[in-house]
Structure formats: structure tokens, C-alpha cells
């Protein structure tokens, strides 16, 4: 019998469950390696060569090189691990979160200061499909 995953009905959201974790294991472990200053330096000095040391899929490597966080998440990445890439790039968590929304950095910041993204219209996938 299939597992119940009601969270798949939440728009613009990927829940990092055991299945995602399995898909993203090496992508996330690569991110984890960036907690060491020496590894951050080696990554910055040659991103592709550093990524090639990890048994990640080519799609995962391309998503990292493009800093496409939505794509990274679709391929099993988790935001707390991906944040290590942002830290390496000198980006704040707000810049990283904003980069996934289609808003500019300034628009996202203004939205948050204005009270954040409202819940109305953002609960179910079908609400987004109408837009």
C-alpha cells in the first residue's frame, strides 16, 4: 500500500522526506563538505573539478553550477544543506530564499517587511493552477 503523502498538495513546496533524502544524498553530503573552510576554498578555485569528486548526477552538478536552488531541491537537495553553498558565495538566507520565488531581492525583502507571503490562495496546488 502506498504511503500517505498529503503534503504533495501544497503548492511551491517540496517536503524533504526519506525518498527525497535518498535521491539527494550525495548532493547534500557535497554541500555538507563546504562547512570546512579549506573545502570552500578548493570549491571556489575549481567548482567543476570539486563537484566531480562526488558521485552526484550530472543534473545535480549542473544545478549547483547554475545556483538554481529550485532545481537542486527537485533533485533531492534540502535547503539547510544547500545553504552551505550560499554561505560559500557570501549570500544570506534571505537572499537564498528569495532566489526561489521569482521575485527580485528587493521585492522579496519588501514582501517580508510587509508581513510576508499571505496564506490566502497559497494552501493548495489547485489555487496556483488557476493563476
Amino acid at each position: 500500500m502506498a504511503l500517505d503523502k498529503p503534503y504533495r498538495d501544497v503548492p511551491g513546496t517540496t517536503i524533504f522526506d526519506a525518498e527525497e533524502s535518498r535521491k539527494g544524498y550525495w548532493l547534500n553530503q557535497f554541500c555538507m563538505s563546504l562547512m570546512k573552510a579549506a573545502n570552500r576554498e578548493r570549491f571556489k578555485a575549481g567548482e567543476r573539478a570539486y563537484l566531480d569528486e562526488w558521485p552526484m548526477t550530472e543534473a545535480q552538478k549542473q544545478a549547483v553550477l547554475a545556483r538554481d536552488l529550485n532545481r537542486c531541491i527537485a533533485l533531492g537537495g534540502n535547503i539547510y544543506f544547500l545553504a552551505k553553498i550560499g554561505a560559500t558565495d557570501g549570500k544570506s538566507f534571505q537572499q537564498m530564499a528569495g532566489s526561489m520565488t521569482g521575485l527580485s531581492e528587493e521585492e522579496y525583502r519588501r514582501m517580508m517587511v510587509g508581513g510576508g507571503r499571505p496564506i490566502e490562495g497559497n494552501r493548495y496546488r489547485h489555487e496556483w493552477e488557476k493563476k
Binding site: Q29, M32, M35, G86, G116
Partner: protein, 285 residues
């Protein structure tokens, strides 16, 4: 015997730590956050605990995907401050309380909660930001801290019901400790926020306020909320709020005794991507 004197609840947003560490607390944006904790710092000085039992989650710092413990109790003599990728926060190392931690582990495991015991663990902003908010910027933290890490990173996280029951077991454990220690239990994380995907930035003020109301007045009913309600209404990272139910479950009124006294309540949007909630409850008598 030892007893739990109070429970403290607060968000643990990393940007709050960065604002403190970089001397930006006077900026209007941050003033609105820190003003909500002025009372709390005073209250901490007036009501110093002997030990803080601090419930928080690790954010891919102490635990990678190699090992994912659902509930992990820190039993070490001390805990280093993690380098999360930006360098470690310039805050004191955390001194543990190995005797009480070992006692709690033994009691709670025999009470059917299968804790992971951790003797070596760096602690991240989930633990140090609440300490900074309540204690300011001292040379050393005012008392020993027992770190209690909950997995809220990889789904499924423990249910609110399980967390609430665990809090009750922690209270039984504390009350069976011979030394007359005054223990505070802190629940951290939340409130509504989502850090990932096109829905990032979600905030649900009404839901958060209702959560605070119910945490105070009807925690057992609140503990029945299913995960999907947190995810849908409070954002994918809002699920951290299950950790508040551990602290609430440890209060006296849960199976006997008078309701706790609400000595402080604060709510503000935003700190970075997150709604900040904060509550102090004192046990009566």
C-alpha cells in the same frame, strides 16, 4: 528534588544571531525584534535557573544525512559552537550538565522514549540564538545547558502528540533527581516560515496567534494537530513548532496542578524570512 520552574518559547532565526554578532541591534528593523526580549533578559536575571534543558533542532551542522536521530540528548561536559559555513558565532562555548543529562536519559528511555545519547556534538544557531536573546552577550553563559536536538529536517518529524508526551516524561525524570535544582525547559524554532521553493516567505499571523493561545490554554488538544496542518498553514519550516510542545508537556498543569502564569508574550513579523514568537510560562507555586 529537582523541579521545572518555567518554560520559555522562542524562534531561533539565524539572522538574529548575525544582527547581534555584528552590532546591528540598534537598527530600526532589528529594534522591533529585540524590544520583545528586553523584559525576558530582565526576567532571566531575576529568575536564574540552575540548568536549562534546551529543545532545538540542528540545521545540517552536527548531523549530516549520515545519521538522523529523532531525539538526541547531549550528555557531554561541554559543546563547541558550530561553524555553519560563515565561521562559528562569537559566543561562549556551552557547558553541559552530564549528571542530570544522564539521569534524564536513563529515566526517559525506561519511560519508552528511545533517545539517542550524544557525547560529542557541536551546537548551532538553533541553540545559541535563544541563549543570546535571553542572556545577551556575556563572557560565559549563566548556567549549564542540556542540548536536546529534535529531527525536524527530514520528514517525517515526530508528531506533536509524541513531543507532548515526551515533555511529560522529561518532567518525571527531572522530578526524580535528588539535587534540588531549578530547571527551565525551553522550546525553540518557528513560528510560521518557509525557506524553500516558490512559496518561500509564507507567514500566517492568525495561525501563529491561535497556536500561542492554544499552547497556553489547551496544549493537549493542540498536540493532536497533524503534520499537514503545520506544513500547509505555517510553512514547511513552521513544523519546527512541534518542539514547543515538548517544553509545554513538561509543565505542572498537564497532569495536575494549576495553569502556568503567562509572564511574557511577544510576536513580530519579520526577522529575515520568519515570524518571531516568544512566550514565558511560570509554573504556579
Amino acid at each position: 528534588m529537582a523541579r521545572i520552574t518555567a518554560s520559555v518559547y522562542t524562534s531561533h532565526v539565524p539572522a538574529i544571531g548575525a544582527a547581534l554578532d555584528h552590532g546591528r541591534t540598534h537598527e530600526p528593523y532589528w529594534q522591533k525584534v529585540f524590544s520583545g526580549y528586553e523584559f525576558s533578559r530582565h526576567w532571566m536575571r531575576e529568575n536564574p535557573p540552575d540548568v536549562i534543558f534546551l529543545v532545538y533542532n540542528d540545521h545540517a551542522n552536527a548531523f549530516s544525512l549520515e545519521i538522523i536521530p529523532t531525539f538526541a540528548i547531549g550528555t557531554a561536559a561541554e559543546f563547541a559552537v558550530a561553524d555553519e559555513g560563515w565561521g562559528p558565532r562569537p559566543v561562549p562555548k556551552v557547558i553541559g550538565h552530564p549528571e542530570l543529562a544522564a539521569h534524564i536519559a536513563q529515566s526517559v528511555i525506561q519511560d519508552d522514549f528511545d533517545l539517542t545519547i550524544v557525547n560529542k556534538m557541536d551546537v548551532d544557531h538553533g541553540l545559541t540564538v535563544p541563549l543570546s536573546l535571553l542572556c545577551g552577550q556575556p563572557q560565559a553563559w549563566p548556567c549549564p545547558v542540556i542540548p536536546f536536538a529534535v529531527n525536524v529536517v527530514q520528514y517525517p518529524v515526530p508528531s506533536g502528540r509524541r513531543c507532548f508526551q515526551l515533555g511529560q516524561a522529561i518532567r518525571r525524570a527531572v522530578e526524580s533527581y535528588d539535587d534540588p535544582l531549578q530547571v527551565q525547559i525551553w522550546g525553540t524554532g518557528g513560528m510560521s516560515h518557509q525557506l524553500q521553493g516558490p512559496r518561500a516567505g509564507l507567514i500566517n499571523r492568525e495561525w501563529d496567534q491561535r497556536f500561542l493561545d492554544r499552547l497556553i490554554a489547551e496544549p493537549a488538544a493542540l498536540a493532536q494537530l497533524p503534520h499537514i496542518e503545520y506544513v500547509r498553514e505555517a510553512g514547511s519550516e513552521g513544523i519546527e513548532l512541534v518542539m514547543w510542545l515538548i517544553a509545554r508537556g513538561a509543565m505542572n498543569d498537564v497532569d495536575r496542578g494549576a495553569p502556568p502564569r503567562v509572564v511574557h508574550r511577544f510576536y513580530h513579523v519579520p526577522a529575515s524570512n520568519t515570524a518571531v514568537g516568544h512566550l514565558i510560562l511560570e509554573n504556579a507555586g
